[in-house]
Amino acid sequence: MSQTYTAVAVAVVVLATVLVGGFGLRISRTTSDFYVASRTVGPALNAAAISGEYLSAASFLGIAGLVLLHGPDMLWYPVGYTAGYLVLLVFVAAPLRRSGAYTLPDFAEGRLESRAVRRLVSLFVVGAGWLYLVPQLQGAGMTLKILTGAPGWFGGVLVALVVVVAVAAGGMRSITFVQAFQYWLKLTALLVPAIFLLLAWYGDDRPRPVLDLASTAAVRADHPLYATYGLIVATFLGTMGLPHVVVRFYTSPNGRAARRTTVAVLALIGAFYLLPPVYGALGRLYAPELPDGAAADAAVLLLPERAIGGLGGDLLGALVAGGAFAAFLSTASGLTMAVAGVLTQDVLPARGVRQFRLAAPLAIVVPLCGSLLVSDAPVADSVGMAFAVSASSFCPLLVLGIWWRGLTPPGAVAGLLLGGGLSFAATVLTVAGTVRSGWPHALLAWPAVWSVPVGFLAMVLVSLATRARIPAGTNAAMARFHLPEGLT
């Protein structure tokens, strides 16, 4: 029974996404609403779109699963995902918008006046995007496997197909409305069942949840305190460089709106993140015997059925499944579009709308293969690695590029290669399972603690050594980044 509901919920989500994407354009037929139709996107709508795209499988399923398995220390994940926006707000939001850049390669080229740096940044954007796409597709496979018994590869392939078809058919013509819709869908899909779950818990005479620090299962890392700091550094500083986050800021009409949008994002994702801990805590109560490993991510999906049961449980379970699928779809499509944009601009030979549609399959097939090959890393962990790479490469580039006149192209190259390259290498070694314990494992699995300082130091030192290469337009760029609108 519940399988049917789930299938229906997933189908409805896919259909609604395609519909909103295809028809979400602003259309006017008379001159009087012409002005309304051509009005730029306000902070509230854009913030919902950014949040919708940002709240991925790791947020929707992963956090509750990790909390269930490893205790409340895992709540650093959602805190980090949110705090990342605060750091983005104070250092990056308004200047990045004012730079006029659509992607990070655009920003690098405009600021450093170097095609070489642009190409290098493009490579990193594609790499980080793929790293982030893998867990999305894995999560989709796992969700459908648990809920409908479909084979593990099916969910990922389905998400990839929907995204490719939607992009190729020009269906995502108005991505802002799609993503804003996805935010409210995800919030509803987690909030409504949470209310019923809390009611059920209340009805059960409020059994005291197990709140221990690391009760069940294994301690997650040999050096948990170091791992926590690694996580904090990666998520706090990595958010600003995620390719799909950066492109959404372009939609803001100006720097001031970009700032206000970011505060709204803080509020929206903050509200969302109040929910996963509820699932984590109740999961410890009602579903403590969940199988470990990746399946812990399934806690959110199974909880309604276990705690409430019956038709109500099935329906709520279907709602959660729909929300989870929305999470895969929105993040996957946002990332695919961002990666495809960079591929068409900087990697593929010719440009144009057709190339963009051809680039979309390429952008998602590689991580799809990756997700099928690497199948046992928990969703939130793999996402953490994408954050670490972003924090060690894009964060220094953005922060120094915006606030320091001394940055030079060679400095940026050195910082990207050392900070970003080393954290990327560490990620590959971890996923390959070369080192499994002790300090070497901790250092490789949570590289941000050392790779972020390396990235910053390399950028600063090499820039200082190549002062003659400071771009001629630096002062003009600084003026454009920081002068408020209406003054220039």
């Binding site: 926006y85 706090f236 606030w403 002062n475 003026a479 002068l483």
Partner: protein
Amino acid sequence: MTGPSAPRREVVTGEPRRVRPLPRYRAQAEIQEQTALGGAYVRSLMRSQLRAALTVFAVLALTAGTLPLAFAALRDATAVWAVLGCAAYPLLTLGGWWYVRRAERNERDFARLVKGRPAP
């Protein structure tokens, strides 16, 4: 539909001019020459904005830097749940809100300074 009366469209494009596109970075240098607001003005604005940003970031970094140690020392699970599961989010939003107010005030002050108007 395909009768002789149905007019057909043909695709027409201009011939390649083979013009060298305008130098990519020249425009920026020109802006630099034209920027009437001197570098000193921009630098002072940047300093005040950076100060606001660093204030927020310092508070955030200090809190996030000490909390894991505090949790490890306390070993009180309820505190972890309360702080990380609940209290953190309103505080983060509040921090963001404070920064935006501060940054916008800096920009208003700057605009007044540049336009030479007295404070209202």
